[in-house]
């Protein structure tokens, strides 16, 4: 069996096996799926280590030109490694997590998601990628709907399904057009002769691919299911799919489409950077004022996507490297952060910031992991987030549009400010009376958090390692020529980041003073500022949520209009002919009343008409 098939088929087979195991067995399902995840991780590592010897596979599938082709070039192998790592971490984390719904179905969904994500990462044919990519929809839905037995979970599952389903259809159409223009479905073949945005069809196709990619990554405006899922589903789900898998796949394909398949132009670069900057700012503004641990994190998961899109949108090697590096860094610390949220929820039973506080003394390890990951996401040196953000900043400056650079810096300021608020209100400050007996999280939860926090540190202090081992070769494999990526200089950018940190700290002090010392109210001075207050109120009422807007305003109107057209055709084929026929039969019925003189008159009149007609047509013969 080809090595490349293991990451796809081993989780699939294990998922099938898990379904056969009774719900009542203790730890059997957990051990089985963790073992499968670890073996897959080893296989992924092996695939990566065998590079530059590229593993590939081609099987007949649906006819000529549509083979089942997989190809693990460096970017794919790197992505596969990341997918396997997070799957293993979540499997272990979920060992003793009670609030995840039925554990049988939880692990089934987890393993299926892993298998399909691995398939999407390894696919060389666009159709194979689409097959796995769109297949994730099923498990996204079942994951959310089975994570909680609540109406909210069911609604959010439908919302996530529909948003992703509709954008996946865009991706489908984009892929059909791309494949037709290029004359092949295999990405490695398309890349030899990149497509350009010189004519309408290719622009249309690229935009459709873009919609599919950024929607998967959870960028605005396709993000709105993520904050809902934060409250309506489990922490492992949040740590796995919106924080890790979706981001990895979305940004991976964005990089593939924007650099590998298409040769973009300046205008499209501006579009991408604008989308990125807008996502950074709008989402972080929302994150800043959240009052729920997981909901706050989920808005950051959206906001951070903006950095990756911005980085790739610069189209210069530094920016693209920054985007990809940020992708892996974000998955690491965001997954870790959601895990800390899960631990706190597990031990305290709540995620409401106003009910938490002072937990650092009682949950010191969770607290330390939180601090590391929060420092990383806020871009504080020397953690990993600092280095990837630095690359994105440099890329944005090099692109010649400094506006995007300033947007990214402003985003960092607000990110740090909101993590000061979050950390302060959960881990420091006053411990509420009812949480006096809180215990540290169990070992199975601490272990994956520790591993991810360690990566945050390792990829920070040793940022040259991932940049030289992973990001650099990945850029080579998609044909981006680049100079040295690693290297720290205490230049202007560094001092600016120190200023941003100081500004965020001052802002937090101001907020505390305004909020009467309560950390959970440290954002109120901005939340309830003039103008912003109204904007926030509208956002809370989902005025800007395209899904709610579409489902409430657009879809019913369109559907009603279509329905009335349908009723019109029904009238044409049913009511109209039957009433016409009825009219004539009633009319002729009136003449059949049995009166002899009437019949005689009708006969004579008919004869007269006949003679007249005959006479007009040349006379009687």
């Amino acid at each position: 069996m080809n090595l490349i098939l293991i990451p796809i088929f081993l989780p699939l087979a294990t998922a099938a096996a898990v379904l056969l195991i009774s719900e009542r067995t203790k730890y059997l399902k957990e051990i089985l799926s963790s073992a499968a995840a670890l073996v897959t991780l080893l296989a992924a590592a092996d695939i990566f280590l065998q590079l530059p010897d590229v593993q590939q596979l081609s099987l007949p599938w649906i006819g000529s030109g549509l083979g089942f082709t997989l190809r693990a070039d460096t970017l794919s192998a790197f992505l596969l490694l990341a997918v396997s790592l997070f799957s293993a971490a979540i499997s272990i984390y979920s060992f003793s997590m009670p609030d995840k719904g039925s554990s049988k179905w939880f692990f089934f969904n987890l393993l299926m998601t892993q298998a399909f994500a691995a398939g999407a990462a390894l696919a060389d044919s666009l159709l194979v990628m689409l097959f796995f990519w769109e297949g994730l929809l099923v498990f996204l839905y079942t994951f959310i709907v089975l994570s909680q037995d609540s109406p909210g979970a069911r609604r959010t599952a439908k919302k996530a399904f529909l948003i992703n389903g509709v954008t996946d259809l865009c991706l489908l159409v984009g892929i059909t057009i791309t494949g037709y223009i290029a004359g092949t479905m295999n990405m490695s073949e398309i890349a030899r002769n990149k497509l350009t945005l010189d004519y309408g069809w290719s622009v249309f196709a690229y935009v459709l691919l873009l919609i599919g990619a950024v929607s998967k990554a959870g960028a605005m405006p396709f993000h709105t299911w993520i904050p809902d899922a934060a409250t309506d589903s489990s922490s492992p789900f949040m740590a796995y799919i919106p924080a890790a898998i979706d981001k990895l796949l979305g940004i991976y394909f964005l990089a593939r489409a924007s650099v590998y398949l298409y040769q973009l132009n300046g205008a499209m670069s501006i579009v991408l950077m604008t989308l990125g900057a807008f996502t950074i700012l709008a989402a972080v503004m929302m994150a800043f004022v959240q009052k729920d641990y997981k909901r706050l994190l989920s808005y950051h998961a959206v906001s951070q996507t903006g950095y990756m899109i911005l980085g790739i949108g610069t189209l210069n090697p530094i920016g693209i490297a920054g985007g990809l590096f940020h992708m892996i860094n974000h998955a690491t610390y965001k997954s870790c952060l959601f895990m800390t949220a899960g631990s706190v929820e597990r031990r305290t039973g709540t995620n409401d910031l106003s009910k938490l506080g002072g937990l650092f003394r009682l949950m010191p390890l969770t607290g330390i992991f939180f601090l590391i990951a929060a420092a990383a996401i806020s871009g504080i040196a020397p953690f990993n987030g600092f280095f990837s953000k630095e690359l994105v900043y440099r890329g944005a400056l090099d692109s010649g549009h400094p506006l995007f650079f300033w947007a990214a810096e402003l985003g960092s300021f607000l990110t740090l400010a909101s993590f000061l608020k979050l950390g302060h209100s959960v881990y420091f400050g006053k411990l509420p009376e009812n949480l006096k007996n809180t215990k540290e999280a169990p070992f199975s939860m601490l272990l994956p958090m520790a591993a991810l926090a360690a990566i945050c540190v390792l990829f920070g202090f040793g940022a040259h390692l991932p940049l030289e081992r992973f990001i650099g070769p990945a850029l080579d494999s998609i044909g981006v020529r680049h100079g040295a990526l690693a290297g720290f200089e205490a230049g202007k950018l560094y001092f600016l980041s120190v200023i941003v940190i100081l500004a965020a700290v001052i802002n937090h002090m101001l907020g505390l003073a305004a909020g009467g010392g309560k950390a959970s109210k440290a954002s109120d001075h901005i939340h309830y500022a003039p103008v912003l207050k109204e904007a926030y109120a509208m956002a809370e009422n989902r005025v800007f949520d395209i899904y709610e807007l579409g489902m409430d305003k657009v879809v019913p109107v369109v559907a009603k209009a279509m329905f009335s057209v349908d009723r019109f055709f029904d009238w044409v084929i049913d009511t109209a002919p039957s009433s016409t026929a009825g009219f004539f039969s009633e009319a002729s019925e009136r003449f059949h009343n049995g009166s002899y003189p009437l019949y005689l008159a009708l006969t004579l009149a008919g004869a007269l008409v006949y003679i007249l007609l005959a006479a007009l047509n040349g006379g009687l013969k």
């Binding site: 649906i62 006819g63 297949g135 439908k158 529909l162 489908l172 037709y180 559907a559 349908d566 044409v572």
Partner: protein, 479 residues
Amino acid sequence: MDLPIKMLTTAVAVPVFGAFLIPFAGRVSSSARNAFAVLLGLFTFAAAASLLSPVLGRGAVDYVIAFPRGFDLILHADLLSVFMATVSSFVSAVILIYSLDYISHYENQTEYYTMVVLFLGSMMGLVFSANLLWMYVFWEMTGFASWRLVGFFRSDRDVAKANKTILVTVFGALCMLIGIIMIYANYGTLDLRALHGQAITFTAAVFILAGILSKSATLPFSTWLPDAGVAPSTVTSLLHAAVLVKIGVYAYARIFGVTFAAPEAFSTMVLYITGASALISAGAALVETDIKRIIAYSTISQLAFIFLGLASGNKTAFIGAILYILMHSVAKGGLFLCAGIIEQKTHTKDINRMGGLFRSMPFTGAAFGLCSLSIMGIPPFGGFFGKYLVFAGAAQNGSLGVLLMFLFGAMMTLLYLARLFYKVFLGEPAGHESPKEGSYTMVASVMALALISLALGAFIYYPASYASLLTATLGVNLQ
């Protein structure tokens, strides 16, 4: 007469003549009648499926009974007709098995079984006929059987809807007859084998199209199909999945796909008509609240995708359409049979009075969900491949307007099916006392169809290579 020819003749003759023996079996006992009907269905499926290997091996199998003036009865088994016959008879056999429980609560069961088997038999006759006149004859026979089946219940409303069905489809069939006569006037023969690769005039094509659209419930003749939902669910399942609406697409594939080279303008017209049909019926599916009417509108909308594949004029799209017929038959059959279980257990068809049914009917719910996913075209279900290939063909065809219409149509498919599933199975329960799961045979039938939808996706290699071979050997004028 060698074995394949025997199989070909029995696949048509056994259900057509067997149907008339069902009333006699009914005289013996009701279980003998039921067993006989199911056996007829299974036998027809076996006979049709047994033709797969001869047509794959040596091409066509023919059987001719000569009639004067070129009106010979020609039974012609090729890749397309055997495919269609196998799919229809398989779904029909599942529906017959499901009927054993479902219909046992009603009167007139003998008439029901007779008409179902006659329906199946005339479908077999239609697909295997290689003479347009005989196609027309069988076409009208299916119309007759559907008329009696839609009017299975005898209230005025049911009879009126049944009359609507027959009147609309017969109007279309008569238009088609005019088209057939025009072909006869042009070529002096109605033998499709002899007409292979000939040109067809635009007018004749439009007349035939009227017949096809009325049978396949496409705009502007679509609304009889949701109205036919008054019939028992097994009948609607039969109409939607196996027999009636597939007749139109089959005739389109047979006449314009593998026989005549249709004029360019004609194909373009079909694309726009069906695109509008996809959108309008999807909109109606979002408005309706009757579960069977929603699924019926979904059929109208999905048929448009099949027409998109057939009329796009390239091989990719044609393969897609063939796969779409297969996937849609299986999944739509499953959906209607699920609706049958729900209707029987909740005693309502109004989705606002359901909600939360998943808790008490998990298997029906799962089957419904799986079949919906296949219709939506979500991988790894079979429907994905049909949808993808049809879109790929449309992209190759290069008409942006058509592509966008169908893209929106596909998005709306997601919307109405997700809404339906949510409302029926997950939403807040609306004043029903948790109905029980359906009987064993019924649930097994729907589960079988749902799992087959999944298996068809997992083993797509086999149906796809069959469809490719079909397109490569029979397709006319495809790029």
